[in-house]
């Protein structure tokens, strides 16, 4: 591969990595178009990762070519630089693979530990079907509802199941089902991986944050489509009262129903 092409690929990676998060992690864009933000971000991430890996492999290939090609010319600096860049590419690729592997391994360990903890709650709960969703009802005096993507289950406390009106309960379950069906765990994991690979890079942490928020809003929107934004907002308020944790989501849903 020509040196000019390699430089262009690295430039492409740098431009996408720097500009995509700045454009996409805009609060208004994430709030109004969460799906589009995620789609464009994943396309950008794939293109930039492909460009960088291709450039690094090409640099390694050029360095290796120096050792198998007989060159009788008087060039000295060229081959030396090719080798230096080759070694830098090997080191960069090694660091990327290592960081990616370490982050993946950490994610898997946390998932496994969590599965073990929830297995005991799951075994103590009642496996049932509510509003068309497979749910594990567990005895608790707290208002808890959560999806565990690694086990593909929804868990609901008896307190919440008994205190929510049927239409509000259906909206709450639709929210959790959307997390499972749309595989938001994988979307968030991609954000966590991007942040783990480039921890000091503020753009990657901003994008991981936007990913977290976008998946939460997408689940709200999916539940709102099945019921209505007002019902989802009412379900949040009925479940958690005036908790500050839900204030912004409730306000967004009310704004949606008004428009």
């Amino acid at each position: 591969m020509e040196l000019r092409t390699i430089v262009l690929l690295i430039a492409l990676y740098a431009v996408i990595s720097l500009t995509a998060p700045r454009i996409l992690a805009d609060p208004r864009l994430v709030s109004t178009r969460p799906r589009q933000v995620l789609v464009v971000w994943f396309i950008s991430l794939s293109i930039s990762a492909l460009a960088l890996v291709t450039a690094l492999i090409a640099l390694i290939g050029r360095a290796l070519a120096q050792h198998v090609t007989e060159d009788n010319s008087a060039r000295i600096m060229g081959p030396i630089l090719e080798n230096v860049f080759g070694w830098i590419a090997v080191a960069t690729l090694g660091i990327l693979v290592f960081r990616c592997g370490a982050a993946l391994s950490e994610l898997r360990t946390q998932n496994r530990q969590l599965m073990e903890r929830f297995a005991s709650v799951s075994a103590l709960g009642e496996h049932t079907e509510l509003d068309g969703h497979r749910v594990i009802l567990f005895p608790s005096t707290q208002p808890l509802l959560l999806a565990v993507p690694s086990a593909h289950i929804i868990m609901m406390s008896t307190d919440l199941a008994h205190n929510l009106a049927p239409d509000l309960r259906a909206a709450a379950l639709a929210h959790e089902q959307a997390h499972l069906t749309q595989r938001h765990d994988l979307v968030r994991a991609a954000g966590v991986l991007a942040m783990a690979i480039a921890p000091g890079f503020s753009a990657s942490s901003r994008m991981a944050q936007a990913t977290r928020i976008a998946t939460e809003l997408l689940a709200d929107d999916a539940a709102a489509q099945q019921t209505s934004p007002t019902v989802v907002a009412e379900a949040l308020v009925a479940a958690f009262g005036n908790s500050p944790l839900i204030a912004e989501r409730v306000q967004r849903l009310i704004a949606q129903s008004a428009s």
Partner: protein, 119 residues
């Protein structure tokens, strides 16, 4: 004798047996109440001791060599404790759990508030 069950499941089954009993049970009595996948007595004793160390069961000496076990907490208290511990152990920023209350941090909510204020 089949013992193909995860540690978490075995502990839950033991807790269910202890809750169903009005009196404390010996390890042999616990084993006798398993209807399927009956665990070995040595496995049961090991798991019961581990559960005692975790504060899930209480052990009492009855005189002689036998010891009895009883649930340390009521069913609802136990599930609440396990659930709270699981929720606390989950890093909010990791994709392991999706809470209806949301996994948004203070910074995430400030980000969202910006969007609402700009509309």
């Amino acid at each position: 004798m089949t013992t193909s069950r995860s540690r978490g499941e075995l502990e839950s089954d033991i807790m269910n047996i202890l809750w169903a009993s009005e009196t404390p049970l010996t390890a042999k009595e616990v084993q006798a109440r398993f209807t399927d996948k009956v665990p070995a007595i040595t496995t049961l004793i090991t798991v019961l001791d581990r559960m005692k160390a975790k504060g899930q069961v209480v052990k009492e000496a009855t005189g002689g060599r036998s010891q009895t076990f009883a649930a340390a907490k009521s069913r609802i208290d136990h599930v609440t404790t396990v659930m709270n511990s699981a929720l606390q152990s989950a890093d909010d920023h990791v994709a392991a759990l999706m809470l209806f209350a949301g996994n948004l941090s203070d910074e995430d909510r400030a980000f969202l508030r910006q969007a609402i204020d700009n509309n």
